[in-house]
Symmetry: D2
Subunit: 320 residues, 4 copies
Amino acid sequence: MKKIGIVTCGGDAPGMNAAIRAIVRVAHARSLKVFGFEEGWKGLMANESKPLTPRSVGGILQLGGTILRTARCPEFARRKSVREAAEVLSLNEIEGLVVIGGNGTFKGALDLSKESDTLIIGIPATIDNDVFGVDETIGFDTAVNTIVTEIDKIRDTAISHERLFIVEVMGRTRGFLALTAGITAGAEVILVPEIKCRMENIFQTLKENSMKGKKSGIIIAAEGVGDTRGLAKEIEEHTQSEVRLSVIGYAQRGGSPTARSRLLASLYGNKAVELLLNEQGNKIVGLQNGRMSTISLEESCAKEKPLDLGLLALANILAT
Amino acid sequence: MKKIGIVTCGGDAPGMNAAIRAIVRVAHARSLKVFGFEEGWKGLMANESKPLTPRSVGGILQLGGTILRTARCPEFARRKSVREAAEVLSLNEIEGLVVIGGNGTFKGALDLSKESDTLIIGIPATIDNDVFGVDETIGFDTAVNTIVTEIDKIRDTAISHERLFIVEVMGRTRGFLALTAGITAGAEVILVPEIKCRMENIFQTLKENSMKGKKSGIIIAAEGVGDTRGLAKEIEEHTQSEVRLSVIGYAQRGGSPTARSRLLASLYGNKAVELLLNEQGNKIVGLQNGRMSTISLEESCAKEKPLDLGLLALANILAT
Amino acid sequence: MKKIGIVTCGGDAPGMNAAIRAIVRVAHARSLKVFGFEEGWKGLMANESKPLTPRSVGGILQLGGTILRTARCPEFARRKSVREAAEVLSLNEIEGLVVIGGNGTFKGALDLSKESDTLIIGIPATIDNDVFGVDETIGFDTAVNTIVTEIDKIRDTAISHERLFIVEVMGRTRGFLALTAGITAGAEVILVPEIKCRMENIFQTLKENSMKGKKSGIIIAAEGVGDTRGLAKEIEEHTQSEVRLSVIGYAQRGGSPTARSRLLASLYGNKAVELLLNEQGNKIVGLQNGRMSTISLEESCAKEKPLDLGLLALANILAT
Amino acid sequence: MKKIGIVTCGGDAPGMNAAIRAIVRVAHARSLKVFGFEEGWKGLMANESKPLTPRSVGGILQLGGTILRTARCPEFARRKSVREAAEVLSLNEIEGLVVIGGNGTFKGALDLSKESDTLIIGIPATIDNDVFGVDETIGFDTAVNTIVTEIDKIRDTAISHERLFIVEVMGRTRGFLALTAGITAGAEVILVPEIKCRMENIFQTLKENSMKGKKSGIIIAAEGVGDTRGLAKEIEEHTQSEVRLSVIGYAQRGGSPTARSRLLASLYGNKAVELLLNEQGNKIVGLQNGRMSTISLEESCAKEKPLDLGLLALANILAT
């Protein structure tokens, strides 16, 4: 192996740059050349790349976002597009490609692996933490901390006004962010898309809390649970007291990565290069039960990572 | 003067606790007793208070919110309610009352001053910074920093995706937060309620930026400028590229106060007690041109604090 | 089991309060009464305790330090003291005791377990992360992030002045903090007590960096590696350029716990109560390879947690 | 005026980059060309410069340090060196020079103004805030907040251990940082170089605090007050209880500038360009009593900015 490529796809996640830095520097130490394709699959298809060297990735460890930029690329669902990308890889003699992104990205990577001889390694980087076979994705820890810091601030106002707040966080289909942020921020109620929310249960919890003297509270809801504005209204009508909604926006996806997101990025980047040097491909790297491991692209794409329902039960006990 | 009261009203602001601490400890040093009325005007009307001592305000300097809690109190617009409050003050022999809040609160304080012999001093504490005659209110600096930190994070994603973001901040009628956060976060466009936003101007700026190679950008908008979701759509249609909206929520009102918000709280609290000891009332304390000063409740309530249009012009130049 | 106790010993760590909250609320849900002994072993020996209820541990999740306070207690090395503590436990009919602390604390807990019928469970909480049999202690992640944030700031000055900085972090005998903070902050050199530092190696690295165009740099050193001031001088003399020393102090031990430290605290607190309810004792709870597990007090105290030398090697590659 | 230069000298301060950005973009809007000299006076003497454009200063608003780098330059005290710099300015037809730095830098600027026809404007940027005639220097607010955040964390440990901490902050000759950080962090004792510290007063305060039930405490000391390690020992011996020392290091000088430091940088940069366009020089720009103003280099260098002793007295009352 002499030359490898890197591409960052889908939504950005804090720590993507740390992963790029790790790949480039480990590759350099192993005498590999590295090229970065820009703007995700789009740049790969268009053969837009630049060489990456240990110096060109200096000073990016602590930066959010991705220096390679990223973009959504719906046309990559078509075989024609995937073949274009495969040709670019072949043309540039890219023997290994590290694809940094989330679930959707890995589906594209799997398609690409079927059209190309280039070995493909996926590095899981998404704030959603929804990659099967991987304990924790790069960026998840940062996003959780951003949310928790925000809820800590909202709680000041909640307590001062003895008021209920609904905090909506990202997660269109999965509740990992809502659950982990919810338990660590001490949210009174956690709503995730995986579990149907029953209004009577929420009312019951709020009533019990009120009887215990808890006059303020935080309900954290993944965006996938539905209309949070409507939820706020419904609770207002039922409890006869004001409910405020705060939608935590794109700041969740940005910011300087936490130490943990940087550490995962370093470990995952290192492992990716190591696999390529061992002529292995079509795998996703990641911690499994705390140990560096791999899972096949195919298996990870085919399965859904389960939400830890025990953690949800614990969160409810801790919020009593 | 032997006994004074404190009440926090309206929306909470970071540094209200620092102000309470300052009043209590300065008052104690001058042999005054201090009572804190709870939940704003509501608690004053209901005679719900507790004694505050140097020890009972220990450890609150760095806390957001207000330990006295606060509440909206629409009924305080009625003379009957104001008289009830006046009676409570008289009953408790409260000779001086420090009212901590914003514009709306001071209108109530002015009404109260007309029904009561108690000397009333206002301490401006609101993230809106819209109190006439006062350079800066307690909490404003904290809220600005919270917004700027958030925009710094959003910018990571904006650059990575080469995308435009609209960031909506608080400010139903005034643009102080949007303007100061906008210039310090380097927003490409700043929209404030004081100035009618013309779509063609926005389009022109975005077009010029695009030609300069600025492919991402931040538009900061005070909530008072109107429907930001509609604005996002309109820009999307015109520019043919995605625009995202992030509404910065109640975290703006919370959080540990910055050093500056704590400093203002300390200075304002001290000045308030000093005025009462000099038998002065019906004034709002505050920095004016950088110096501790006062303005009459009446004048401050009657006038509107002007927005610094020069600063807005400078912001536009700096965002080129 | 009807009644359990909690005690926090040794140096404080961010997340101790989150652990106390978790224990109390889980215990309450299982109908256990909880008493908190104050100031570590000292308070246990002196029978100074207070009941802890779900409400009395409200609002502490996000606070650094420990509401039970802590203190060094050299006299607990003597059997007489340990017996006194055992008697207090017996007197109060404390059937289970959760001991929150680090290595030194667990040695005391082991001694106590030999003199008392009370079941003892250890919860590892120390920024040093040096407890054998436990992936990560409560507080470690917070301390690492505090250090990394600080180094990110120091790097601004290092780059602006093209200067070398030595950053000393805690760790009298172990290098976990220095290593993890070093790799995630991108330190050019990492010095840990476990590995003898050879000056010629440092000089060699600095020389190579200089030739690569890296004119500034960060050397992170655990306090246990020895005289960092002398090290700074030695490097100054050898490189003929200024070297600055920054000793990161007690802020490492404080601050609001990160989401991860809070999560571990919640998991460990829950597991501790569960073990006691199953009449198990003399164990330390903790993640092992990412899964909740236990290790006997005896084994953990007898063995030394190994430092991950592979991580150190990776750090050196990443800093090229 | 067609061409101006910028140079950053002395210690770096957060917001220097924001000032560079403001100068460049305002100058561009007024059709001025801008050159940046690198590494302070050294680069000016050596004629090492680069053109600065609105695009080349993009993305630096939020960065600590200075992209022009800085260096100490003792040889600039000699007339020969100053003349070299003057010749470089003349050679490059630099009609106006903006010098960003602190007191020492302005002494050099004053010398330079006497040897050169180039108009010189000083922008005060130093965490020390010790420039006469200027309310607040760029970077001061950021450094104060960094210290306060750190002390907030140290207080967790102080309270948990009921222990006294001495926190040493920067300030070799002046106590602005110690005083403002001290009052806003609620330090029990504030020691500044301007006022001789008497041990009996410290002992008295600590004794009184202890009697009030304050068992922990923070003493903040500017480095200029002398041997803080010795101070810690002396207090330990007198109070018979442990005292810890935390020296807050170079992180004080780095980090992303606060909104206020960015705002001052924007205002000062704008004003500097405006003055040059009006053919004015040999002045320092800055807020005076809250309003943009100027002071002559000569006067500012000749006088010493007074420390606000009233603020120190208030701090002592607030810490009761």
